[in-house]
Symmetry: C2
Subunit: 325 residues, 2 copies
């Protein structure tokens, strides 16, 4: 485990790469041993549960091939922190398994810049991982904690609950479709695709308020469908209520609804809460500094019904992303 | 999150694949929530530290392209449990990020068979992960625990300590070289390459006895070198003392020393202990049912010196595996 990072240029081998990363990591008091041994040692405070999630990004599948390395680094951690946010957890640590076709030091430095910038925002310490030669693939496991028994699970929604989402929907999907069609992509939309904001503060603020929660990675209808299946209920969503960004507002509803309801990569939170909690939820969102919108309601039955402005059922062109479809 | 696993044939999408895996997992009492939500929830008992490691296997880099899927599944978990073993930790949970070029159900079932067979041996529960389309790559994060402050670290070796290794060395490297050269590979050697045995019981038994420990993945001299660097000391290894399997014993020492001292993929433990502890260490190894051999000593200075039978310095043809070399 050499520490040859002088000059920041030569990344001649796996051990140098690990040293490059290691030299740039801030340390938390609850990490007794970080990168550099066979495994890391951490302390989970008494009364807290450990929360763990793992998500991978592959080139060409989870981000366009032209994505800047710093954005890839950011997004690889963001999609994992988004999962922790959906549980109401406080992020703490992560591991990173990085497969690279070569060891271009500029690419690596850019990647680390983006990854560690987001880690620093949330006080997350990288405690382990490995680098291997292979097609570009980034596997992250993120860990955090939550007051025992207080996690926001998918299975707690009840009939009559409101359905909420944070932020705006469909921006990343619109950017992706523009890219696929060869059109120019508006900068604000591309930023939403490349640098999603994990709603960690919202998740924390919703502990004790939301009855269920899921993060939106595969598309609103698909992910809300997962929540409904786990809760054993159904949901109705009013498409006219879906929050829309300024950039997307110029599209006709019929065009943007497909992105908003079925597009992926939003990384907003979708949660349910009792109508009696509307004011408290609004205060929690204000506290977190993130907009929230009530878009529908939990109903008896199963499945998610999207309703057009006239209340008629609406069918999405496709149901979320399925990487094996 | 559908649960369409009937018949065990159709693996039509990502969610089915997750369901296939989920349906086959045993559950631990300390897992409050496993696969199926945004993240898993676990309890770390008071007084124990969390131990975390992450290692990836890529096709053609970490296993030959013709490796059976069941062996790939086994090895992907084994290399991670080996890291936990090197800390003296008790394995508990893992996540799995699986990138696959297609969703061949026979391949997937074979992979899961091997992965879960080893998990069951050590009571490890798969608590999360994802499946994505991409070149074959398997990223695992393994978690366990250890009595606080008692982990076997790399930095505790002291001058005068004995250097020990478990099992036999060089078998996997010999198998790999036979494969590369197109020669027939002896079955026992190939098994050592494809199905390494993580020395979990040995690691547990060495807590309080070993002064430092590392697992052998990159080759004895390279990995012992990492231990020495972290401990701020040097080591001498007597090549004539390296434990040799029956299959490897028929090779001349000069041939097999390269595999034994510098070959990778052994997944044995290399540890140091005071000479006053010889009998206790031997009892611990007997208790774990694994052979152990004293192969050298910790000395002042730095670096690892390999000595031939006549005591003369020996230089390995190469220093371990470096995936970016």
């Amino acid at each position: 485990m050499s520490a040859d990072v002088a000059g920041g240029i030569a990344a001649s081998g796996e051990f140098d790469l690990i040293a490059r990363i290691r030299a740039r990591i801030a340390s938390r008091d609850d990490v007794a041993l970080g990168i550099g041994d066979d495994a890391a040692l951490m302390t989970v405070p008494a009364g807290l549960q450990l929360v763990v999630t793992a998500d991978t990004l592959n080139a060409g599948v989870h981000f366009p091939a032209d994505t800047a390395p710093t954005d890839i680094g950011w997004k690889a951690l963001a999609v994992n922190l988004s999962d922790l946010a959906a549980m109401g957890a406080q992020p703490a640590w992560c591991t990173l398994s990085l497969s690279l076709p070569n060891s271009d030091p500029r690419w690596i430095d850019g990647f680390i810049d983006g990854f560690l910038a987001l880690a620093a925002l949330h006080g997350v310490q990288l405690v382990g991982g490995d680098t291997t030669r292979g097609p570009l693939s980034i596997a992250v496991t993120a860990m955090g904690h939550i007051e025992a028994g207080h996690a926001l699970r998918r299975d707690g929604a009840r009939v009559g609950d409101d359905v909420w989402v944070t932020g705006t929907l469909g921006d990343a999907a619109a950017a992706l479709q523009s890219l696929f069609s060869g059109a120019a992509v508006e900068r604000s939309l591309r930023a939403r695709l490349d640098r999603p904001t994990p709603r960690v503060e919202v998740g924390r603020a919703l502990v004790g308020l939301a009855s269920a929660c899921v993060d939106l990675s595969d598309g609103l209808l698909a992910d809300l469908g997962h929540l409904c299946a786990r809760s054993g209920i159904g949901a109705e969503v009013d498409l006219a209520l879906l929050p829309v960004s300024r950039a997307l507002a110029r599209f006709k509803p019929e065009v943007r609804w497909a992105w908003q309801a079925s597009g992926g990569d939003d990384y907003e939170l979708c949660f349910t809460a009792s109508p009696q909690r509307v004011e408290q939820v609004q205060q929690a969102l204000d506290f977190a500094g993130v907009a929230g919108t009530r878009i529908g309601r939990i109903v008896a039955g199963q499945g998610v019904q999207a309703l057009a402005a006239d209340g008629a059922p609406w069918r999405a062109p496709r149901d979320g992303y399925d990487h094996f479809a």
